[in-house]
């Protein structure tokens, strides 16, 4: 893939004689994009409150659907991961909407910057949304439905969530970029993403079930963390390779 002209400046800008503008470094660009994302989100509050509220509502629905007041072990892991996954879908749907509707893609494409910066910036944004979501959803889960106390196993759970979030963010960004320029974007996004995210759910649920069990029967399994890390690595590389093709025309 690297032998295709990637439409990016090979290194620093080779132009001379133009003191005012040049080709900004990728970190600068990511910073500018992140700042813009943060500002838009703070002004519109479209994603974060929605995702968090949805997660809490889902937990309540689970209480009624399962007809239980507490869950533990496998069931607890299942409830947690389904809740997080579906709330993540909401975030995925909103991720590129402002850019698609307000000419954000063109504005970015006209700039002399490495286009992969958008992948990184958007993935970091979605990652941030997921982290905030979990700050709300995990305590809510512990409060509303979880039987065993969360305290002792929290670090392990956080490690699992962190690795899973990276994968969610990468695939979520890639699929969101794919779906936003199609006709049925709100439907197509989750439809494409859910099968792709099944390995994360498998690994996440399997790894967290022992941590959420009464009596703390289990320890943190290295095997599932390795699966998550492998998933993140593989899809990170693939996303990096193909993302440019989604932006250009």
């Amino acid at each position: 893939m690297s032998s295709v002209a990637r439409d990016t400046p090979a290194g620093t800008d080779a132009r001379t004689g133009d003191a005012r503008s040049g080709s900004p470094g990728t970190l600068t660009v990511i910073g500018a994009l992140l700042r813009k994302e943060l500002l838009v989100e703070l002004r519109t509050l479209e994603s974060i409150p929605g995702m968090s509220l949805f997660a809490v509502s889902t937990l309540v629905v689970f209480h009624f659907a399962l007809q239980r007041s507490t869950v533990d072990g496998d069931l607890a892991a299942g409830v947690l991961w389904v809740t997080l996954l579906f709330a993540a879908m909401l975030g995925l749907n909103r991720l590129f909407v402002a850019d698609a509707e307000q000419g954000g893609f063109d504005g970015f494409l006209l700039a002399p910057v490495d286009r992969t910066a958008m992948l990184l910036a958007k993935a970091l944004t979605l990652l941030a949304y997921l982290l905030v979501l979990e700050i709300v959803a995990v305590p809510a889960f512990a409060l509303l439905l979880l039987g065993p106390p969360l305290g002792p196993t929290l670090p392990g759970l956080l490690a699992i969530l962190a690795l899973a979030d990276v994968g969610l963010a990468l695939i979520g960004t890639l699929i969101a970029a794919l779906a936003v320029q199609t006709r049925a974007r709100d439907l197509l996004g989750p439809l494409l993403a859910l099968p792709l995210l099944v390995p994360i759910v498998i690994a996440g649920a399997r790894a967290s079930a022992p941590l959420l069990s009464a009596g703390h029967a289990g320890a943190l399994s290295a095997r599932w963390l390795a699966v998550l890390a492998l998933y993140d690595l593989v899809f990170g590389l693939i996303a990096y390779a193909v993302f440019d093709f989604l932006l250009e025309d």
Binding site: P9, R20, S21, G22, V29, K36, Q102, G107
Partner: protein
């Protein structure tokens, strides 16, 4: 400065631009006429490197597109129908965002805010501004990075006469920039043109220096 030879850009099986050839020297103004759907916007977007040519040779600022698109980006300013600005952000935030993407300092942003006379509304969300004011901010965005080539798609569309005078130093002929401007006004457009191109259904039916064209020929295009 701009050399087009047999440019083709398709949309599916339809040719949005079909065998367009022209040559525009540096510092001159090309005015593009044509009815809606003739391909004016497509032409501008190809020159802006947003669309790849499907066939033909395109050279902009001495670089071939699409192979050397990244060399051209950053030296071209596009003003389209879409202001390319975020409605929830203020004018200042929008311009600073674009400035960072083009490695331009904040001082230049302030200069432009003054130049397009929106200093008193620069910190309000863009959605509270009128169309004319948004257009002025868009002009500021398009010229922020001191482009060598200006691509202007009906630049004066939402502006009143005083605003047009205001932005003339930025996007008018007096900038000395090479410019490509689309227009629906035969007399006004002709007045600022060095070269004229008339598009109809993607074909360049008219390519002449401005001195050799009469307004009635342009009106023919819209028949």
């Amino acid at each position: 400065m701009i050399e087009l030879e047999g440019l083709v850009r398709c949309y599916g099986e339809r040719e949005a631009l079909s065998d367009v050839s022209l040559s525009l020297p540096q510092g001159q103004t090309l005015v593009v006429f044509g009815p809606n759907g003739a391909g004016k916007t497509t032409l501008l977007r190809v020159l802006a490197t947003l669309l790849r040519p499907h066939a033909g040779a395109v050279t902009v600022l001495e670089h071939r597109l699409p192979e050397e698109s990244w060399q051209v980006r950053g030296r071209v300013g596009l003003l389209g129908h879409d202001p390319l600005l975020y409605r929830e952000l203020t004018a200042r935030e929008n311009l600073r965002y674009h400035a960072r993407l083009h490695d331009v300092g904040d001082a230049r942003v302030e200069d432009l805010i003054q130049a397009v006379a929106i200093a008193d509304r620069a910190d309000e969300p863009l959605r509270t501004l009128s169309r004319g004011m948004i257009q002025r901010v868009a002009i500021a965005r398009a010229t922020l990075h001191d482009p060598q080539l200006l691509l202007l798609d009906e630049p004066y569309a939402n502006l009143d006469p005083s605003a047009i005078d205001l932005v003339a130093p930025l996007i008018g002929a007096q900038t000395g920039c090479t410019r490509v401007v689309t227009s629906h006004d035969p007399t006004g457009g002709l007045a600022q043109a060095d070269l004229v191109v008339g598009l109809r259904a993607g074909r360049a039916v008219l390519v002449k220096p401005a001195g050799e064209i009469e307004p009635r020929e342009i009106a023919e295009l819209y028949r």
